[in-house]
């Protein structure tokens, strides 16, 4: 089985943008043809001059199985991912119960295989029950398929527990992902401190809480040599520390959610709980600084931090409402705001969306090179639309982009050369 994609803007995160055709054979990229004769193929897809890029690898997706399947299932998350050009979802273990044993991990792997049209790679908890007291069976979990270890939005406050978990993970070459918020300073806070927080009378956390947590973690990685990924760096003050740690040769990477790059604290406006995130949305200066850090490569990975919440958990007074936003379907169009705003170019964007997360997890995906898996997204970068949250495939529709004008429409998604695009 072979497929030829013709007349495409090929967005190669490693080599830049070219125009041409791409041949797929047996689920892998068989060649990139920029000039000359096109080879024969069983199926030919005319990309009509639009973009073809390596499919997105979304690091940190919450699928609410087990426990809260009414919020999101592998079937619904998989459909949302396919619609959004996401070909691999890397799931979070903050389910109920947490994914902290090989048995629960096997459940996730099996459910994902049965129901999801896109690839699913699970992460597992770093400590049992995400309680921050005892480490999980990192070895067994890794053997069962866990690609990284994280307690998600819970910080392991006991530095002895965290340093041992990091050291143990290091011996297995396992990646540890951590949430960087100093928990004492941020307890009870629902927005970033400052004028807006005071105006609305909402408890706020200083942006310094992020830098403090990052500083602590950097000291622990220096001590243990662990492989470490900071889930979301969202403030300007944390960037110099990250830069120094990288310069000193520590095995550290950092991510950021698309929401923190395209929205700021003022979007909360009159207590709109769909804009309640963890960490909270930041000041405009922070948003801009973090966008520049993504463009420069200091921040490596751009993700959706997809967090489904049903209406009941959001239709509450702001302080009591649940945190998080769905993002699988809006990740690419929202990210295109950065491209249209001149912050980053398309190859740079797909380094952050596809190549870097693949590299960090040791995957072959994220490239347009010969031999790489044919995980692809075909999209029109300029097509404008107004998002209607009722059209989202996720079971939960808690998007902050409802009614937003976005540019960039996914036209097709392929996993291992097979189309996963739904006809609608």
């Amino acid at each position: 089985m072979s497929t030829l994609f013709t007349n495409a803007r090929l967005i190669d995160p490693e080599r830049g943008e070219t125009h041409g055709a791409l041949l797929v054979e047996d689920g892998r990229i068989a060649g990139v043809i920029e000039t000359g004769d096109l080879p024969q193929a069983a199926e030919v897809i005319d990309c009509r001059g639009h973009c073809l890029a390596p499919g997105i690898v979304d690091l940190g997706v919450k699928v609410s199985e087990p426990g809260e399947r009414h919020k999101e299932s592998f079937a619904s998350a998989g459909r949302a991912a396919a619609a959004g050009g996401v070909t691999t979802i890397v799931t979070r273990p903050d389910t109920s119960p947490a994914i902290d044993t090989p048995e629960t991990l096997e459940f996730v792997v099996r459910r994902a295989r049965e129901d999801s049209p896109v690839r699913v790679l699970p992460m597992a908890a770093l400590t049992k029950g995400r309680d921050g007291r005892e480490m999980t069976e990192i070895g067994f979990l890794r053997d069962a398929g866990a690609v990284a270890f994280t307690d998600c939005d819970r910080v392991v406050t006991d530095t002895k527990v965290f340093s041992r978990a990091l050291a143990y993970a290091r011996s297995l070459d396992a990646l540890v992902m951590a949430h960087v918020q100093e928990p004492g300073l941020s307890s009870g806070a629902v927005v970033t401190s400052g004028k807006f927080a005071s105006l609305r009378g909402l408890p706020g956390v200083s942006p310094m809480a992020e830098r403090m947590a990052l500083d602590r973690d950097i000291a622990l990685i220096e001590m243990t040599g662990a492989r470490y990924h900071a889930d979301q760096i969202t403030t300007a003050r944390a960037l110099p520390a990250l830069e120094r740690a990288k310069r000193n040769g520590l095995d550290i990477t950092a991510g950021v959610s698309v929401h923190h790059l395209t929205l700021n604290e003022l979007d909360v406006a009159d207590y709109r709980s769909f804009f309640k995130l963890k960490p909270p949305l930041r000041a405009e200066e922070d948003r801009q600084a973090v966008g520049e850090a993504l463009a420069s490569g200091l921040i490596d990975i751009l993700c959706s931090m997809h967090t489904p919440q049903d209406e009941e958990s959001k239709r509450l007074p702001f302080e009591e409402a649940a945190s998080g936003a769905v993002g699988l379907e809006t990740l690419l169009p929202a990210s295109m705001r950065l491209v249209h705003g001149g912050v980053i170019d398309l190859p740079g964007l797909f380094r952050a969306l596809s190549l870097n997360p693949s590299k960090r997890l040791g995957l072959e995906t994220g490239r347009l090179a010969k031999g790489a898996p044919a995980d692809l997204v075909w999209f029109d970068p300029d097509a404008p639309f107004v998002l209607d949250r009722a059209t989202l495939r996720s079971k939960s529709r808690n998007t902050p982009f409802d009614g937003a004008r976005l540019e960039g429409k996914v036209l097709g998604t392929w996993v291992a050369g097979r189309s996963v695009t739904e006809s609608r």
Partner: protein, 318 residues
Amino acid sequence: MTFRARHLLGIEPLHPTEITELLDTADRYAELNRQGRAPRDVLAGLTQINMFFENSTRTQASFEIAGKRLGADVMNMAMQASSVKKGETLIDTALTLNAMRPDLLVVRHPNSGAVDLLAQKVNCAVLNAGDGRHEHPTQALLDGLTIRRAKGRLHRLSIAICGDIAHSRVARSNIMLLGKMENRIRLIAPPTLMPSGVAEFGVELFDDMEEGLRDVDVVMMLRLQKERMDGGFIPSEREYFHRYGLDAAKLSHARPAAIVMHPGPMNRGVEIDGTIADDINRSVIQEQVEMGVAVRMAAMDLLARNARMGRDETGVMA
């Protein structure tokens, strides 16, 4: 510009002329109250429900008296005791009450923004009687009226707000109102009780009481909200009283004719010396309580008029 809003949720959205209209109306009610001639027909036939999700004897009584003086049928609901305990959400409670077709809902809630949320779900007039640390508009209006009556004006005054500003909705609403009316506002608090980013509100900040009180016309004290403290904001009550409690020595730095205000209930010996609170030449604390009823009468009167106009224009209530 006159007050045409459907709800009174905060001072922030109000225009200075709307504030003046509310105060003028309240001033008239204050005089009528003193003469015992409050017009009983203004809210006759209207149903007012007081929903207090947080205990408050004083504010609830003030709203109840205001409604009754204007002839409304007033019902008090202690929300902690009712369906909230059974797990009903705020929105469901609002929809249930809405179905009973009240005309005025007076709401107090411990969460900032909760009254706004509720107002979106009902089609009667909503009065915010205090939401979390956000706003308490009738308190700021009654404070404004008290100042205007004592000082003869509500502009170009130097006004100090002192105490637990971080946790105070009274402070927020007053900063809004006094700022809109073009006064100089000074905030005096220990750094732990000063909200973040507040310097951008166009106010002056002090952590020293004597310096902050220098030559002010009005001293507005705040209650130290002990129930809101989750520990460690101040070393002790006695140190707080020593450094921030209003006594004669500290008050001597203010203008000789400066008035002293407090939203109540007072912690004597914590934020204010009892003799200052009782000094009839300085303290206007009892006048504040009196103006509270007048301001609430004015607010409910104007909201009821606005609702009537909305009905007349559309045939049904907007």
